[in-house]
């Protein structure tokens, strides 16, 4: 691997990983707080992308970057207040099923409003062009923007959770909701705030992901699968774990794509004869690059077997 390819792969992997973290942070926050595995989380990511597209059509991308996550968050808060809160008393499984159903409803709604094909969601002129050049490869501004936005979001999240009053209440409610309530805090309102806030973070990721990549109805399904890998690998409910897992998965996927080694190739290098007639040749000749899209899911399965609480999770199972 040339240094150019390695550097570019690292940058691509990190920017992708940071986008994943923006998505997964809201999900893991909601899970650690409310014990709800929000199946509709990626749908809020998609909603963010579509809201961002619509608002940027009306008044521009930059207002959309602020307004679309707010709208997504508001919608999330409403879902919590009038949906989840009622289902909550029936336990975790009905909650899970509720969000599962919700995800399908959102996808259908999006298709009714914006249609099934991708929408022409264009980068604003400020984000087009190149940021810098590594050897001969140019690095687009849009990718740098993903990184900056994710890091700023992480900083803001850290300040809110550790340096503000509401953040302290949230942290306390994480482990001891009854005592926090006894102290006179409105824990239900905090729940609504966290759910809405988590959805807003997904919405922010959506605005950015939608404009840099493609805004279309299947983006929720694609993102949904991968963020569950992130929070399971990172450890359910661990924000730091989600961060590490996001970067890990981002880097694994991009570097995986860059590696053209196969078992057949390695066996041949050490002197074995491997030909199309060899038993199981279809498997041996697969290169890492070809299986790269599946690597995160392989990691998910391995983590569940070896370390069920995830890299940084605190509870078992």
């Amino acid at each position: 691997m040339t240094p150019e390819l390695a550097l570019i792969s690292a940058l691509n992997g990190i920017s992708y990983g940071l986008l994943l973290f923006m998505l997964a942070s809201g999900l893991t926050l909601i899970f650690s707080m409310m014990g709800v595995l929000n199946f509709a989380h990626a749908s809020f990511y998609m909603l963010g992308a579509y809201f961002g597209y619509q608002i940027s059509k009306w008044i521009g991308f930059w207002p959309g970057l602020v307004l679309a996550p707010l709208a997504t968050g508001l919608l999330g808060a409403l879902v919590e207040r009038f949906g989840l809160r009622r289902v909550h008393k029936w336990g975790n499984v009905p909650e899970l099923l509720f969000t599962f159903g919700l995800s399908f409803i959102i996808v259908e709604l999006v298709q009714v409003i914006w249609g099934r094909p991708p929408v022409p969601n264009e980068l604003p002129p400020e984000l087009q062009g190149h940021l810098f050049t590594i050897y001969t490869t140019t690095f687009p501004i849009s990718r740098g923007f993903i990184m900056v936005a994710a890091l700023l979001m992480m900083l803001a999240l850290w300040i809110v959770l550790t340096r503000t009053r509401i953040g302290l209440v949230i942290q306390a409610a994480l482990t001891h909701p009854d005592q926090v309530e006894a102290l006179g805090h409105n824990v239900r309102k905090v729940f609504m705030l966290v759910f809405g806030g988590g959805c807003a973070l997904a919405g922010l990721a959506g605005v950015i992901g939608g404009v840099v990549f493609v805004t279309e109805p299947s983006m929720a399904a694609v993102a949904g699968a991968i963020i569950f890998v992130v929070i399971v690998v990172g450890g359910m409910g661990s924000l730091a774990g989600a961060f590490v897992a996001s970067l890990l998965i981002g880097v694994i996927q991009t570097f995986g794509l860059a590696l053209d080694y196969s078992i057949a190739g390695i066996l041949q290098d050490v002197g074995f004869k491997v030909s199309p007639d060899t038993f199981g040749y279809a498997v041996w000749k697969l290169t890492i690059a070809q299986v790269a899209p599946v690597l995160p899911f392989l990691l998910l399965v391995l983590i569940l077997i070896v370390r069920p609480r995830g890299l940084m999770g605190t509870r078992e199972g």
Binding site: E4, T137, S142, P293
Partner: protein
């Protein structure tokens, strides 16, 4: 009793009138369009659906087939072979006897198989599959069927034409292959290796990549590999979003290799490459609007399409398909699929791109192939732009159909010829 007999009389009257009308009335032949209208490939699907609708309108307006009107009925198959079989069943339930499909050879294999099986089990209710763009060679070779006709050149024919052109491009030294991981993508890889080895043995293949079909939204890592391999040329059979996003990522990373493609003239690609693709992107296909026949039939259809749908008409095969059907209807004075199929075998006619022939042995249309490059509109060689970019395709070479013609291994089982 009186009321009953009045009813009977009224019924008799009505049936008399309707049967009397049927003689004078035109018949409507429905064509099921089974292609993606959702997901990443939806823009391609909806462009081609509009193309069929416009050509059907023109055919009806100009009366191509005597006493027959065409109607195109869309079915969304989500690019899935399984969904396509459901769509086929739904179409058959609506008494539709003609199926068109083109996006994805994986889908075409399923449909060809489904159509053949249904037709063999339901004599008298035959269905024809008119494949306008699924180009896996096997469809007219080992898997050929009497009920399947292909109106696009297959992928081996296109590679034959492309490599004949590439043989003269001395600057090509290192070639990178990137293709979609399914039937068609693998055919492109194989043909590119075989034909380049034959025509340009000095060319080195520095990479041979496959990626999932219609799933990738970020190609930057693939582009980084193409760059790292030091390639000066990329050959790809990618289409739809898989080509548009690949070229977009190439532009973002400043990749300067030349692209030899099958489908750069399709929806989304022109916008994605813009000026960055100037003189570097080429495609091989059965037609290019900017050819030496100024004011041709193809230009007229393109202009009408643009004013009606604000989009480009590039799937010329939509014309070929409906024209062929109309000719066959006129020849047999029937719209019965069995008779029409026999009439289409060996049929020759003047198409938008010149004379074409539906080869008898394997139902593979023989036609000229064009190679074009991406250039600025100059009013002479490039008169029409693509997707309002101010850039368009300049015809570099037109290859006669015999250049790209391939032998076939098709051993077709034919039904008995109806009278």
């Amino acid at each position: 009793m009186l009321r009953l007999s009045m009813k009977v009389a009224a019924l008799a009257c009505a049936s008399l009138i309707s049967s009397g009308l049927a003689v004078a009335q035109t018949k409507t032949v429905k064509i099921a369009f089974i292609d993606p209208q959702s997901g990443l490939m939806a823009p391609v699907g909806s462009n081609i659906l509009h193309s069929y609708q416009l050509v059907a309108d023109i055919a009806n307006r100009e009366g191509w087939a005597k006493g027959v009107k065409f109607e195109v009925v869309p079915f969304d198959n989500k690019l899935s072979p399984q969904e396509s079989l459901n769509a086929l069943k739904a179409a058959i339930d609506q008494d539709i006897r003609y199926i068109v499909q083109g996006n994805g050879s994986s889908v075409a294999f399923a449909l060809s198989d489904g159509v053949s099986k249904y037709t063999e089990r339901n004599p008298g209710k035959e269905v024809l599959f008119l494949n306008y763009a699924a180009v896996d060679p096997d469809l007219t070779n080992s898997k050929c069927s009497f009920w399947h006709f292909r109106f696009d050149a297959n992928s081996d024919m296109k590679m034959e034409a492309l490599t004949s052109y590439m043989a003269d491009q001395k600057e090509i030294k290192k070639v990178y292959l990137i293709n979609q991981d399914y039937a068609f993508g693998h055919q492109v890889r194989r043909a590119a290796r075989e034909y380049l080895a034959r025509k340009r043995p000095d060319v080195q293949i520095v990479g041979d990549e496959v990626h999932p079909l219609a799933k990738i939204t970020d190609f930057s890592q693939y582009v980084a590999k193409i760059k790292a391999a030091g390639s000066d040329t990329v050959i790809t059979g990618n289409w739809g979003s898989d080509l548009a996003l690949l070229i977009k990522a190439a532009k973002d990373a400043g990749l300067t290799a030349n692209f030899y493609t099958y489908y750069a003239a399709t929806t989304g690609v022109a916008t994605a490459m813009g000026a960055s693709g100037l003189d570097r992107v080429r495609f091989v296909g059965y037609w290019n609007v900017n050819n030496d026949k100024v004011g041709s039939l193809g230009e007229k259809i393109l202009v009408e399409f643009k004013s009606k749908y604000k989009d480009d008409w590039y799937t010329m095969a939509t014309y070929t398909v409906i024209r062929t059907l109309a000719e066959a209807f006129n020849k047999t004075k029937s719209t019965e699929p069995v008779k029409v199929a026999f009439a289409m075998e060996g049929m020759k006619f003047q198409n938008v791109n010149g004379e074409v022939e539906m080869r008898n042995t394997d139902h593979q249309l023989q036609q000229v192939l064009h190679i074009a490059s991406w250039q600025k509109v100059d009013g002479k060689k490039v008169r029409f732009d693509s997707e309002n970019t101010g850039l368009g395709w300049r015809t570099e070479r037109v290859l006669d159909s015999f250049v790209a013609a391939q032998p076939t291994s098709c051993n077709m089982q034919r039904p008995s010829r109806p009278d």
